[in-house]
Symmetry: C2
């Protein structure tokens, strides 16, 4: 349960790779192309291409066309959160269908639903978790993760 998609997985791998190349000691500032990443991690080339295109559209990376082209991080690694990456690929975080109901939409259980509020607390905690972890944390060091459970905060009714 609560699995992230392969595409999101690939996005994380690719960004980790780009970040490491770009801010590592070996070839700092180097542009990374899709093929390099696909081969390095055994990711289907064309699928990865779409993932990277999406990330570029969401301004997490910058693309450079032509030979010697490829991708570069749009920001520094510590300014790119895991939440941003995942949301770029999979859309906004939403534990339940009713998490981001717009006006007009409507849930059959809404009037009488007693689990919405506690579930939104859970969702907020996960969001906090993913927002507090950045690409930088995935480059080498152990990520610092601190969360507070909704139960500990008290569930309002």
């Amino acid at each position: 349960m609560l699995k992230i998609s392969k595409k999101a997985d690939y996005a994380l791998m690719a960004l980790q790779h780009i970040a490491t190349v770009q801010f590592g000691d070996v070839t700092p500032g180097r542009v990374v192309n899709t093929k390099e990443i696909a081969e390095e991690y055994n990711i289907p080339l064309e699928l990865l291409a779409k993932v990277l295109q999406t990330l570029a559209k969401n301004a997490l990376i910058e693309s450079h066309n032509g030979p010697k082209g490829g991708y570069v991080l749009a920001r520094r690694a510590h300014q790119i959160t895991i939440a941003q990456i995942l949301e770029s690929i999979e859309g906004p975080l939403g534990i339940t269908d009713c998490s981001h109901e717009k006006d007009g939409e409507f849930c059959m259980q809404r009037d009488n639903c007693h689990i919405r509020t506690p579930l939104l607390k859970v969702q907020d905690s996960i969001a906090q978790l993913l927002n507090n972890m950045t690409l930088q944390d995935m480059m080498g060091g152990t990520p610092l993760i601190t969360i507070q459970s909704p139960a500990a905060q008290g569930v309002e009714r």
Copy 2:
């Protein structure tokens, strides 16, 4: 992203309902049948039936056959965690495909994967979150039954 299924949603609603009926002030100890829950929350009857059967198989609730039959919590509400409920319906928590790889299974990216460890950290944090929240924390605030117990008003711990 990270959405739980409708079935898991229904499971939470149903258990919240059963818990509230069973430990509330109005009809404590009452057995609740599938139809009652389905009608109360507009859940397709037969789908809910399957969900409750699964919960019974996982020993979260006890079933009683025959007329006046139905379901009762197998344990007290504070001993049933959200994690247990969700895992009963959706299987074990697993952010990535490689979260519970058995020997013999194998991931194309494994040898060279730098995101596995940090992602497992995220997963552990979510697990901790879901394990620390119980059905008890989701009780209270129903239009049918008002809980007056101190435990329902503020969450201890």
